[in-house]
Symmetry: C2
Subunit: 457 residues, 2 copies
């Protein structure tokens, strides 16, 4: 059995920045590292090519009657810039206290290694355990997984007979409290472009005869919310899933210090839809946000121009059971209906992703046909977390989006058990990223117990 901390150091030393072609060697090194590690554990490892970075598919087969768990992770990392803000170099792993510092330590190399170490330990103790295992480790997560959808289409057969997906790529609120993520918001993104005169105009020579595209854009955008904080688009909420009382009760277990949260954000007051606290609104309600707006002169001083166009970048976070395509249509229809007729509109479609929800067993709204092995995995997770962390996990939907989880569900029927291992203080995507080695050890021990229980039936 290898030393997980030493292996994590080795993994971090490969600078596997997927978005930057300069790091081709780091990507290859990280792939080779994973291939060698899993190969050494007896897995049959394939590197499945994609247009960008290959997906590692590593199998431990077995009798088709055995449960089959697919463990997801990613070997790529965010860029390390700005490098000068790192206390120790991003790709030279360094231990300070109970933390290992380095780019990718928490996202996702540490949590992925906690899973691999759990499997290694399990197989060492019980080489004949009746459990099929597949590691599915992609190299484009930090790019938005552009090749994943086509991979699922092409390799759908590989998922046949699998029981569920397990992953550690979500967060713990504190070192004491495990959260099992049971839902993710979806996304629908597009740009709206308002087009006025054919060129920028002098505001003295022509000001007063036409509607300024910036004015038209603000008039459109200002209609998209109600004063009380709901999205003001007909039909927007039609498919929004009701929040179960047990979901609100779970959230209450976390405790919510709203004053501290407002201070953290630096805002004067919250602005949530009626009936939802801030922590509920994030998880249970959809949004329409303006991620960017632009038009005309934005430099120092002044330029008295009437611009020919202005744009806003809009994103909706969606909750089950909203459909991104339908929501985009509704919002665009509302914009078209409300736009003044003296300007032209264009829309630029951006990406989208479905929302996702999985209900643990034993809840009032658990699907009656839930897979028994998925239910067993949830029960095993609850028991193992309670034993090792001293208290049961909390089951929560989250506000963020991991579109591949909904894609896997839609295209293969598989649900996911999301057992997060990174902490808010781990500095994901930021300088001085680190991973808590106590969390790594406890996480790995927990995962080993979960897998053993799934195999035991």
């Amino acid at each position: 059995m290898f030393d997980p901390v030493e292996k994590l150091k080795e993994f971090i030393r490969h600078p596997s920045v997927s978005t930057d072609p300069k790091f081709k060697d780091g990507m290859r090194g990280a792939q080779a590292f994973v291939t060698e590690l899993l190969g050494g554990m007896g897995f049959k490892v394939e590197a499945i090519p994609t247009p960008i970075h290959p997906i590692i598919w590593a199998q431990r087969g077995g009798d088709p009657s055995w449960p089959h768990v697919i463990i997801y992770g990613h070997y790529d990392v965010q860029p390390a810039d700005p490098l000068n803000l790192w206390q120790t170099p991003a790709f030279e792993p360094t231990i300070r206290g109970n933390r290992l510092y380095g780019r990718g330590a928490a996202d996702n190399k540490g949590p992925l290694l906690a899973n691999i170490a759990a499997v290694a330990s399990l197989l060492e103790k019980n080489p004949k355990i009746p459990l099929r295992l597949t590691f599915l480790i992609e190299g484009e997560e930090e790019m938005g997984s552009p090749s994943f959808h086509a991979f699922l289409e092409k390799h759908r057969d590989r998922f046949r007979g699998a029981d569920f997906v397990f992953l550690s790529d979500t967060a713990l609120p504190t070192e004491q409290q495990v959260v099992i993520t049971c839902g993710l918001r979806g996304l629908a993104l597009f740009d709206v472009i308002v087009i006025g005169p054919k060129g920028d105009l002098h505001s003295g020579l022509h000001g007063g005869v036409l509607r300024n595209p910036i004015q038209a854009l603000t008039e459109i955008c200002a209609t998209l919310h109600t004063p009380d904080g709901r999205v003001n688009v007909p039909g927007f909420y039609d498919e929004v899933r009701d929040v179960e009382p047990w979901e609100r009760a779970e959230l209450k277990k976390l405790g919510a210090d709203e004053a501290a949260y407002a201070k953290f954000l630096g805002i004067e007051a919250f602005y949530t839809p009626p009936g939802f606290s801030p922590s509920e609104a994030i998880r249970f309600q959809p949004t329409l946000e303006f991620n960017g707006i632009g038009g005309g002169y934005q430099g120092e001083g002044t330029k008295t121009v009437i611009p020919s166009r202005a744009f806003a970048k809009i994103s909706c976070r969606l909750v089950p059971n909203q459909e991104p395509g339908k929501i985009k249509e509704l919002v665009i229809a509302a914009i078209r209906a409300r736009a003044p007729t003296d300007v032209k509109l264009e829309f630029a479609d951006q990406h989208h992703g479905d929302p996702y929800i999985v209900v643990p067993p034993g809840r009032p709204n658990t699907p009656p046909n839930q897979s028994p092995i998925l239910a067993r995995a949830f029960r095993a997770t609850d028991a193992a977390v309670t034993e090792i962390w001293g208290r049961p996990p909390v089951y929560l939907r989250e506000g963020g989006s991991v579109p591949i989880i909904a894609d896997i569900k839609r295209m293969t029927g598989l649900d996911s058990v999301m057992f997060g291992l990174f902490l808010p203080e781990d500095n994901l995507h930021a300088p001085n990223e680190s991973f808590n080695l106590d969390v790594m050890r406890k996480g790995s021990a927990t995962i080993e117990k979960i897998l053993a229980a799934v195999a035991a039936g």
Copy 2:
């Protein structure tokens, strides 16, 4: 008597770009050119220093009982970029057809030389003419005349006993029709900045709990106009001067092809305040325009951020008798009153300028105490234009702003006779600027007659 076209070529060869320190030699060359030319005509020439570029003050004195005309012009030009779009080099004057091409040909070197040539011809024919003349030629007009206000304050005495200012720095609508500009709009400019959370936020982790600053900004901006095209700020129109029937009648003489104008602008429909045609709205109504808006992510693709701030750059074009300072206060007060309370506001003051109006003699609203010499100048202009151009001038207020004209009026009491000589097709501030040499000749002959008539009394 010099050849005005040859002199204009010589003037253009000095690349007097005031905004770019690289053109220091060109600025010095243009100053020396003007100094030598006017000195050769018997003027006492001074270069009055300012913090940036000196002002040329050239006098032909005489008996204090003689009329005193101050002729304004500027020796600086706009940058010539983009150079690759010029058919012949910007600072190598070239004649094609009846046009002289080169940066500054129309703005303002050609029109200024038409004035200087008129004076030269007048003095050659009548060296003892009872007329005091001062050329006031600045070098910062294309920078917004930043030193002019302080110059007026410091040298107010120099203007004592003068009768009016004469200048050719406005436009003719066509080669056949002279316009005497009788009014200019003022300006009041500022930025509004809406501040939300203390840093940019992830729209998944935090979206749904706070008002996005872009949303707040659009909600504010959308309140600033009424659907029918007026500025929706209490008190905004209180001081707006009524439009005289004769002003609308003058404008009708030009004829207005609204369909052609809409096509030129490239707009679907006009959007003017009720009761004003497009050409009236530009001249007689104030505006509130958004010259720029910005916030959040503006690049390709998407970034799902809630930005910490957003801003708009606002300018109001003002008509007599609106005061820029008061208008700024009214608009800012309206914004404060309408802004949601969950964001913070900041304002950045930008520059401003007063509107200007001068009423020709014999109109129902001509001031009863109008200077007889100013009245004489207007009548002389009307007669000379009618004789040389075959039809009388049209007297119009314009939509643009030349803040120094109002500054001169406020600080010295002097009105201006604005006899424009450039045409829409002259490409001011653009590549391939040119000046129509027929207009130059006719303009110069007209100015000579005007000055002779002012002197004759």
